[in-house]
Each structure stands twice: as structure tokens, then as C-alpha cells.
Symmetry: C2
Subunit: 295 residues, 2 copies
């Protein structure tokens, strides 16, 4: 059993060439010369004893063997790159946190000052693009996501439940009847929230409506909490929003609660960690997050 693995250089060259379909293109990406990349490729093929590319017509195309090899090399390199970058970040006291924009601005950022004061050597970077967050190649140290995570390979700790509250502008509330149960909100116009975990749909389902009936209700439909909130402040109707998100608006009076009803959602926020064991910096922040969410 030969213990000789290809060098990371060779593997990165292979990956780049396979991706680009061209030695020249790959060499530009890698900041190397054509010849260096070409030689790495050849030595890799020599080491494996297999041809990985089909050489023809001034182009390199992946072989069946090359395709199979690439399928394993790419994720392995991704993992190494992620781990290496995480380790580097741990050294520099840098932390990359994935979180939804709404939750970040309304909940995390206001509290972040306290963390930064307690740990001034740690600089926290927020990553709010959830699409990028779910891509395998993206790097983050921990993430706060709503609902069940799609990948099972990482640690997932329950963080906090979400409570929905129905709010409206003070003017609108004055103009309408009192709300005593969940279904009473139907006497007002509704501002709908769209997306996979719709707050308005949760509330209206609880009020006894089915999916079709909810779809047929009139009223504006907004994709983000922020837009929903703005509509409510303009007096367009009742909005259903997480408590953490409307704390400020309730405080300054631009929105008021239309009743004391609360809806605890069936899902909750989870703390996602890309690996079981984590660096001291990550442990610090994750403990702080859990202490925030616990009470």
C-alpha cells in the first residue's frame, strides 16, 4: 500500500484544469505558468498510473477516470480549504456568522455591542446572504437558521422559539373592532408574508383557514419582515411578525399590538456548527448566543 498522496498543489491544478477545461485558463486562476500546471498534471497522472484527460483538438476533456477522481477531490479540497480558513480565522480572532438579515438587524446587532465590549479581540462578521450560506464552498464558523437544517453532518443546537404577534398602526386599530381570538384579525386587511415560513400563513392557519382560503385573501404580499413592517406602519393592514422584530417599533409607538394573543411557532431557531469540535473563539460566541436565548 503506497502511502504517497498527490500534493495539494497537484490536486488544485487538476481541479482548476478540470473546471476550466484549459491549462491556460487554469494557470491564470492559479497564478502559475502554463508549463507548471501542465507538468503538475502529468506528474499526477504518472503518480496514479491513469490518464485523467482526453487530449485532443487543442483541448483537454475529462476522462471517465478523471471525472470519478474529480468527484472525490473537489469536496475533499473544499473541506480542507474551509478548515484551513477557519483555523486562520481562529488565530486572527475573526468570526464569520451566518444569520438572516431580519434577525440580525432586529435581534443580534443590538446585543452585539455587549459581546464586543466583553471580547474586544474578537471581530464578528455577519453573513446575511442565505443563498451563499447554503453553498458548500462558503466559509462560516456558525450560523443561526430557522427551522430544520437541510444537512445532517454538523452539530445543531436549539436556540430559541419564535413568538408571533399581530401589530398594526395605531390609526388602523382605532378604526376597527377589538380582536379577541385568532380569527378576529380577518375583520382587518391583512399584510401577508411570503416565503417558506410565512408568519401570516401560520397565524391564519391557527385561525382555522386552509391553504387555499389563505391564498385567496386580499392584501399586499411581502417577502421580508422589513417590508411587512413598513406596510403595517403605513396603515395598510395587520402584520404578523416575530416579537424580536417589532420591539423597537412598539417602543416608539409607530406600531401597536392589536391584542395580547401570541403564537408560538412550531419551528424554532437553531444554532448550526459546521463541525462537532470547535475552536475557543467559536465556543465563546456560541455560549454567549445560548445565554442570550435561554432566558
Amino acid at each position: 500500500m503506497s502511502r504517497h498522496l498527490p500534493s495539494t498543489q497537484a490536486l488544485q491544478c487538476f481541479e482548476a484544469v478540470a473546471r476550466c477545461g484549459s491549462v491556460t485558463r487554469a494557470s491564470e486562476q492559479l497564478n502559475m505558468t502554463q508549463s507548471a500546471v501542465s507538468r503538475q498534471l502529468r506528474s499526477l497522472e504518472d503518480l496514479l498510473g491513469v490518464h485523467l484527460f482526453e487530449r485532443s483538438r487543442q483541448r483537454l476533456r475529462l476522462n471517465a477516470n478523471g471525472a470519478a477522481y474529480l468527484d472525490s477531490v473537489t469536496p475533499a479540497l473544499d473541506q480542507l480549504r474551509n478548515a484551513t480558513q477557519r483555523a486562520r480565522r481562529a488565530a486572527s480572532g475573526h468570526l464569520c456568522v451566518g444569520i438572516e438579515p431580519a434577525l440580525a438587524s432586529a435581534w443580534l446587532i443590538p446585543q452585539l455591542r455587549g459581546f464586543s465590549r466583553a471580547h474586544p479581540h474578537i471581530s464578528v462578521e455577519l453573513m446575511t446572504d442565505m443563498e451563499k450560506l447554503h453553498a458548500a464552498s462558503t466559509q462560516w464558523d456558525l450560523a443561526i437558521v430557522y427551522g430544520e437544517p437541510d444537512e445532517g453532518g454538523q452539530a445543531c443546537l436549539p436556540l430559541m422559539r419564535e413568538h408571533l404577534v399581530a401589530v398594526a398602526s395605531p390609526e388602523l386599530l382605532k378604526s376597527g373592532p377589538a380582536v379577541r381570538d385568532f380569527a378576529d384579525v380577518l375583520q382587518y386587511p391583512i399584510i401577508h408574508h411570503t416565503g417558506p415560513y410565512s408568519t401570516s400563513a401560520s397565524w391564519l392557519t391557527r385561525a382555522g383557514l386552509n391553504e387555499r382560503e389563505i391564498r385567496q385573501l386580499p392584501g399586499p404580499r411581502m417577502e421580508t419582515f422589513s417590508l411587512v413592517q413598513q406596510c403595517a406602519q403605513q396603515g395598510l393592514g395587520i402584520a404578523f411578525l416575530p416579537t424580536y422584530f417589532v420591539t423597537e417599533a412598539l417602543g416608539n409607538g409607530s406600531l401597536v399590538e392589536i391584542s395580547d394573543l401570541r403564537l408560538t411557532s412550531e419551528q424554532h431557531y437553531n444554532l448550526l456548527l459546521p463541525q462537532a469540535r470547535h475552536s475557543p473563539t467559536v465556543a465563546l460566541f456560541s455560549d454567549w448566543l445560548q445565554s442570550l436565548a435561554a432566558p
Copy 2:
């Protein structure tokens, strides 16, 4: 973003030292000198800018950062080693097939001669230790497993259904009543098969017994098909075995079917491939397997 990844050498040194807890021990495993390993470790720490080990008392112990890093490095290296070895095997026309011993001896090996004759340049190696097969570090090109695979990361193709037949020694059958339905076998002693997918339990469940009743039935309990078959041949009772397994015994008359009843199991054999795209050699063998199972 620095593109510099550690060399595979450095990573292997790190992994070995973390595993052994000692530079000396690791250097022996790696066929290197102490000093070389020590220097690789230091340069890795320099590259990452993080200490990975706790240096104290003549021993190296993994740091929190080191533990987190190792958690990613180990599977990545495993994947690279597996892929590299697969590629090397593809070049040498060698194929490593994982399969249960019973299925191998009764079904695959008798047919393997045909494959070897058609493709004399391919040498097939069977790996029948299922425990080793499920370990992440073990290398195989394809495997034939019964039931749902536990890992989801690989391709899984349905291969063939399993049909159970009830057999006994000719003498035993003569001494007892005829079997017309599944429950009639209870008039004979039963040879039980133990394990996660028990053939006897499948049959007896079909006959209307619940789990507790099956457990309370008398009769020998054997873990492998081979032992079950031997018991049946000794006249100890009725055995429930896959059709492929008893073909030979039925042919030479050492066992006879006690009825024309067949039980098609709910599970079936699956062809497991560790990756989506595979080498020509693997494709050849997997196509041959599917052509065997299809009719």
C-alpha cells in the same frame, strides 16, 4: 484570501501525530525521522498562525484548535486516499467488491467465472467482512448490500429482490403433514435465523405471528445462512432461506422444498457505488451485475 493550502505531507504528519500523541511514534508510521515530522508540524502551525498542540511534559496533546482542525482534515484525507487508491486500482485493472459471504459464495462466485473469462484483464477481489466495509477508511469500488444503505452520499441502485423458500431435509418432510399456507410450517420445528434481516422472522410474521410470539418459539437460532442450512440438512427443522442460497442443495437432494410457497421480501439487494461517476472498470462490472440480476 490566501490560496495557500498546507501540503498533504504536512497534513498527514499532523494527522499521524494527533493520532499517536507523539512525534516519535508518528515518524515511525510515516517512515520519516522525528525532526522531519517536527518541522512539518511547526510549519503547519506557522502557516495557519495557530497552535494546534499543547506542548508539555514531553508529550503533545491536541489543542481545541487542533481538535477542530483534525475533525475536518481526517475525513478529507480519507477521501483523498480512497479516491487515489481507486484511481490506482482502475489503472491496474483491479476491482474491490464488497459483498456478504453468503451471497458471494452462493450467487456471485459461481457466476464470476463468466465475467473473468470475458474480461481477463480485470481481477476481482471480494471483501466479505461487512464490518470493515462500513468503516469510512476502507476502500472498495462497489458493494452489494441487503436493505437500505445507511449512508446517503453515494449512488444506490436496486439490484434484485430476494425470494424466501422453506426447505427441510427429505426425511423430515416425509414425517410430517403437508404445508399449504404460511402458517402450516408451525407444525414442524423451526430453525431460526437471527440478525437485522431475519428470514425466519419474515416468514413467521407473514404467517400471522407477532414479534413476541416468534421470540417464544422453540428451535435452534443461527446467525448465518450457512449454519441455518446445515441445521436443515441435519433434519433439525424447517429453514427459511433465499432461493439463490439453496439452489445447489435442492439440486443434489440434500434439501427439499416443503411447498411451492415463496415469500418476496420487502427489502432487496442494492448496488452501492461510493461515487456518482465511476471508472470504466467499475462501470463494466456494475453493468454486468445488473444484467445478472435483471432477468
